[in-house]
C-alpha cells in the first residue's frame, strides 16, 4: 500500500512539474491570431528518411523555413506505400502549421490501387503547388538486340512472354509505366517486382531482366556510362539530361506520358491567405536557380503550377492510372 501512495505522489509531482513548464509555451498559444506562421511548421513526408521524396522535401523545407521565419520540421511518417502519413496529414488541424509533400504515389496511384485508403486525394486536401517532377527512362540491358523502341517492340512481339522487366515493386510507377507500354504496343513482357529502385536497377545492369522503365535518378548514370541502353523517355518532352533519347510519344505512341510529380498540400479548410502565402514562397523557392541545381543533382527538375491546375492534374491521372491498374489486375490490400 505504501508503494501505491509513493507512486501517486510521484505522478502528482511529475504533473506539477509539467504544469510549471506550461506558461512559457502557453504564450505562443495566444499569438494564434497574429501573422502566420506563429510556430514551427510540420511537414509530413509519408516516406522514410533518405528516399528521393524525403531529400527533396528536406531541401525545400530548409529554404521555406528561412523565408517564413519559422522552422519547418520534416516529420517522416512512412508506411503502407505512403498512405499512412498522407492520412495523418489529411486529418491534421487546417491552420497552415501542418503541410505534406504529396506525390503521384500518395495522391494518384495509392488511392487507385489500394482496396481501401482512408483519405480522398482531391476532397481532403488543399493543393498548393507542385515543386518538382522526375521523369522515367526506358532502359535495356546492353545484351538485348534492339536499338530503339520500334526494334524492342518487334523483338518482344516475336517472342511473347519470354522477356522480363523489373519494377520497383507491385503498384509502383515503374510497373504502371511498363504496363501502359505493354498495352499500347500489344507486347507481353513479364513483370518481375523488386524491392525499390536500387535493386531493380541492379537487376537490369546484371542482365537478370531485359528491360526497366526506371526513375531517372536511378538509371541515368548507367545510361550515360553506356551500361544500360536508354531507348525512350516517358515524358512528353525530351529530357535535357539525355537530349538524344526520343520520347515514347514520338516513337509511335502519341499521348503516352508518365512522370512522378512532387507537390505541397495542406489539409482541407486551411485559410486562403495562408495558402496564398505558401504558394508564393514555394513557387519562388522551386523556381530559384539554386534549388533547380539541387533538384537536378537528384534527377528531378523544377515544376510549379496553381492549385486549380493541380486538382485537374490529379483528376486526369486518377482516371489514366486507374484504367491501367484495373486492366493489369493490381489490387493492394
Amino acid at each position: 500500500m505504501m508503494m501505491q501512495n509513493k507512486v501517486a505522489v510521484a505522478v502528482m509531482g511529475a504533473l506539477l512539474l509539467a504544469a510549471g513548464l506550461m506558461p512559457a509555451s502557453a504564450g505562443a498559444q495566444t499569438a494564434a491570431n497574429q501573422t502566420y506562421p506563429t510556430k514551427p511548421i510540420r511537414l509530413i513526408v509519408a516516406f522514410p528518411p533518405g528516399g528521393s521524396t524525403d531529400i527533396i522535401a528536406r531541401l525545400v523545407a530548409q529554404k521555406l523555413g528561412e523565408k517564413l521565419g519559422q522552422q519547418v520540421i520534416v516529420d517522416n511518417r512512412g508506411g503502407a506505400g505512403g498512405t499512412l502519413g498522407t492520412e495523418i496529414a489529411a486529418k491534421a488541424a487546417p491552420d497552415g502549421h501542418t503541410l505534406t509533400m504529396g506525390t503521384t504515389s500518395t495522391h494518384v496511384i495509392a488511392p487507385a490501387a489500394y482496396a481501401k485508403v482512408n483519405y480522398d486525394p482531391v476532397k481532403d486536401f488543399e493543393p498548393i503547388t507542385l515543386v518538382a517532377s522526375t521523369p522515367y527512362l526506358l532502359v535495356l540491358h546492353p545484351g538485348v538486340k534492339a536499338n530503339n523502341l520500334k526494334e524492342f517492340v518487334a523483338l518482344a512481339k516475336s517472342q511473347p512472354g519470354k522477356l522480363n522487366y523489373a519494377s520497383a515493386g507491385t503498384g509502383s510507377t515503374t510497373q504502371l509505366a511498363m504496363e501502359m507500354l505493354n498495352r499500347a504496343a500489344g507486347m507481353d513482357i513479364v513483370h518481375i517486382p523488386y524491392n525499390g529502385n536500387g535493386p531493380a536497377g541492379a537487376a537490369a545492369l546484371g542482365g537478370q531482366v531485359q528491360a526497366l522503365f526506371g526513375s531517372m535518378p536511378a538509371v541515368l548514370p548507367h545510361a550515360q556510362a553506356g551500361r544500360l541502353r536508354a531507348i525512350a523517355v516517358g515524358t512528353s518532352k525530351r529530357s535535357p539530361a539525355m537530349p538524344n533519347v526520343p520520347t515514347v510519344a514520338e516513337s509511335g505512341y502519341p499521348g503516352f506520358e508518365v512522370s512522378l510529380w512532387l507537390g505541397f498540400f495542406a489539409p482541407k479548410g486551411t485559410p486562403k491567405p495562408v495558402l496564398t502565402r505558401l504558394q508564393t514562397e514555394l513557387t519562388a523557392i522551386a523556381n530559384s536557380p539554386d534549388m533547380g541545381a539541387q533538384f537536378e543533382k537528384n534527377g528531378a527538375s523544377s515544376l510549379t503550377n496553381t492549385p486549380a491546375q493541380m486538382t485537374a492534374l490529379m483528376k486526369t491521372e486518377l482516371d489514366k492510372y486507374g484504367k491501367v491498374i484495373k486492366a493489369a489486375g493490381i489490387v493492394l490490400k
Binding site: 533518405g50 511518417r77 518481375i192 537478370q208 537528384n298 489490387v331 493492394l332
Partner: protein, 507 residues
C-alpha cells in the same frame, strides 16, 4: 594497381587539413553520441544529421558523414555490449558474448576489442575498395535471385550455431523469425499478410521494435524478477578488473579479427544483408574453430572480436557497389548516395575518372574516420564502463525512456511502441522457456529476402526449380549448406546426452 599509391596520395592531400580533421572529429563524436541512443541506428542518425552537412564544402561534408557513419555504427555496438540493446541487426551477434562480458566486469576489454577489430577491418576494407572496387562490384552483379536465395539459405542454417542450448529449439526459433519476417506487404503480389488489418504493419515489423523488445525490454524484465539484489545495486556480477584488454585478450582476438575481416569483406560487397550475414557467419566460424566451443555465450572475447570486425569490414565494403555502380545495398547506403549526389558526386562507373580528387578524398576520409573512431573511443571506454556502476534502479527506468523515444522516433507510430511491449513479453517468455532469441532475429532479417528471391527466381525461370543447381554460384552455396548441415547434425546427435545433462546450468 601501380596507380594505387599516387591515387591514395591524392586522396589524402584532399582530405587531410586541420579543418577537415575537425569535421571528422565532430562527425565521429556526434555519431557515437547519437549511435548509443537505442533505436537510432546509422540510418536514422545520418538522415537527421544530413542537413547539417549541406552547407559544408564537399570534401568536408563527406568526411563528416563518414565520421557519423562509423560513429553510429560503433555506438550501436557499445549499447549491445553495455546494456544488451543492439543498435542494428548486425550487432545482435555482439550482444551474445559482449553483454555477458560486461556482466562479468569485462565491458572495457569488450569495447576496446570491438574498436580495435573495427579499425583493422576498416583499414583492410578501405584498401580493398581502393585496390579492387570495380571488379568486385562486377562480381556482385552476377548475383541474381537464385544466388541470393541460396546464400540466404546457407546463412539461416549457419545461424542455428548461435544458440548454445538445444539445437531443435534454435531451429524452431529460426522458423518463428521467418514467420515474423513475413508480416507486411508481399513484394510479389502486393498483398498484406499477418497484419490483422492494421495499416501500421503494412511495411512489416521494424527491426528496432523486435530487437528492443526481445533484447532490451525482455532483459529488464528478467533482471527485475531477480529482485532486491539486482534491482537496487548494479548489473555487475563482479568487480571491474581491467579497463583495457590484457595481452592474452589481444592474442585470443588476433585470429578472430583477421577471419572476421575476410568474411565481412566478402559478404559486404553483395548488395543486401551484408553486415548481418557476415557478423553471424564470423560468430559461427569462431565457434567452429574454437578449441572449447562451450565458452561461447558466456563472455568469450572471440565472440565479440570476430563479428565486430566482420560487421565493420562489410559496412566498409558496402561502399563498393554504392560508389562504383551507384547501387545502394542498404537504406543507409541509399542515404549516403543521396548525400554524395547533393555534394555533386554522381556515384557510378564514371566517378573515378570524372572527379578523382573527390573519389579518392572520400576513400581517404573513410580511413581517417575509422582512425578517429579508435582515438576518440578508447578514452571514452572508462566513461561507458562507469555507466554500468550506476545503480540499476536508476539505470533501467532511464533505458526504458530512451528505448521508448528511440522506438517512437523511427516512424512516429504509436503501434511500434505497443509492438515493443509485445516483443518484450515474448523475450521474457523465451528466456523462461530457454529459447534463445538471436537465431529468431537473424531469420527475421533474412527471411523476407529469402522468400522474395525464391519466388523471383521461379518467376524468372518460369517455374523451373533446377535454376538453383544449374547456376554455378548458387550451386556452390547450396553445396556448402548441405556440408554445414552434416557438420552440425553429426556432433549434435553424438552430444545429445551431454546437452540434456547440461541444460539446468545453461544460461
Amino acid at each position: 594497381m601501380e596507380e594505387l599509391l599516387p591515387n591514395l596520395a591524392l586522396g589524402f592531400q584532399t582530405a587531410v587539413s586541420l579543418q577537415n580533421l575537425m569535421y571528422c572529429f565532430i562527425g565521429v563524436f556526434v555519431g557515437t553520441l547519437v549511435g548509443v541512443l537505442p533505436g537510432i541506428g546509422p540510418l536514422a542518425a545520418i538522415a537527421m544529421l544530413l542537413p547539417a552537412t549541406f552547407n559544408l564544402p564537399p570534401v568536408g561534408a563527406l568526411i563528416m558523414l563518414a565520421g557519423i557513419y562509423y560513429g553510429t555504427q560503433y555506438g550501436g555496438s557499445t549499447t549491445a555490449i553495455l546494456v544488451n540493446l543492439p543498435g542494428e541487426s548486425a550487432s545482435v551477434v555482439t550482444c551474445i558474448d559482449g553483454f555477458q562480458m560486461a556482466k562479468n566486469g569485462r565491458a572495457g576489454p569488450a569495447l576496446a576489442i570491438a574498436a580495435i577489430g573495427s579499425f583493422f577491418a576498416g583499414t583492410v576494407g578501405t584498401i580493398l575498395i581502393a585496390l579492387a572496387g570495380p571488379p568486385l562490384a562486377e562480381m556482385a552483379l552476377k548475383f541474381g535471385a537464385p544466388e541470393y536465395f541460396s546464400l540466404m539459405t546457407m546463412g539461416l542454417i549457419a545461424s542455428a550455431v548461435l544458440a548454445s542450448g538445444s539445437m531443435m529449439k534454435a531451429i524452431a526459433m529460426i522458423f518463428l523469425g521467418l514467420l515474423f519476417g513475413i508480416v507486411g506487404t508481399d513484394v510479389n503480389s502486393g498483398m498484406s499478410r499477418f497484419t490483422f488489418g492494421m495499416s501500421g504493419l503494412a511495411d512489416g515489423l521494424s527491426f528496432v521494435v523486435v530487437a528492443m523488445g526481445l533484447f532490451g525490454f525482455g532483459e529488464i524484465l528478467q533482471n527485475l524478477e531477480k529482485g532486491q539484489e539486482v534491482s537496487s545495486r548494479d548489473l555487475l556480477k563482479t568487480k571491474i578488473d581491467h579497463l583495457y584488454p590484457t595481452w592474452n585478450d589481444l592474442k585470443l582476438s588476433a585470429g578472430p579479427i583477421m577471419r572476421g575481416t575476410a568474411i565481412g569483406a566478402f559478404f559486404g560487397t553483395l548488395p543486401g544483408a551484408g553486415p548481418t550475414i557476415s557478423a553471424f557467419s564470423a560468430y559461427a566460424m569462431e565457434k567452429k574453430v574454437a578449441k572449447d566451443p562451450s565458452i561461447f555465450g558466456k563472455g568469450a572475447i572471440q565472440g565479440v572480436a570476430g563479428p565486430e570486425s566482420a560487421n565493420n569490414a562489410a559496412a566498409q565494403c558496402a561502399f563498393i557497389p554504392t560508389l562504383t555502380l551507384g547501387i545502394p545495398g542498404s537504406g543507409t547506403m541509399a542515404l549516403m548516395l543521396g548525400a554524395l549526389t547533393i555534394q555533386g558526386i554522381a556515384p557510378g562507373p564514371q566517378v573515378m575518372t570524372q572527379r578523382p580528387e573527390l573519389f579518392w578524398g572520400l576513400i581517404a576520409s573513410m580511413w581517417i574516420g575509422n582512425a578517429m573512431l579508435v582515438i576518440l573511443n578508447l578514452p571514452l571506454i572508462g566513461l561507458w564502463v562507469k555507466l554500468l556502476t550506476v545503480p540499476y534502479r536508476i539505470l533501467f527506468p532511464s533505458i526504458m525512456v530512451f528505448m521508448a523515444i528511440g522506438v517512437y522516433s523511427v516512424n512516429n507510430l504509436d503501434l511500434d511502441i505497443y509492438m515493443t511491449v509485445f516483443f518484450g513479453f515474448m523475450g521474457y517468455i523465451f528466456a523462461k522457456l530457454k529459447c534463445e532469441p538471436a537465431p529468431l532475429i537473424l531469420a527475421f532479417v533474412l527471411g523476407p529476402l529469402m522468400e522474395e528471391n525464391l519466388r523471383r527466381a521461379l518467376l524468372i525461370s518460369r517455374g523451373d526449380p533446377t535454376v538453383f543447381f544449374t547456376r554455378p554460384i548458387s550451386a556452390v552455396f547450396l553445396g556448402l549448406t548441405i556440408l554445414l548441415l552434416v557438420v552440425m547434425i553429426l556432433p549434435a546427435i553424438r552430444k545429445k546426452r551431454e546437452v540434456v545433462y547440461q541444460e539446468p546450468d545453461a544460461v
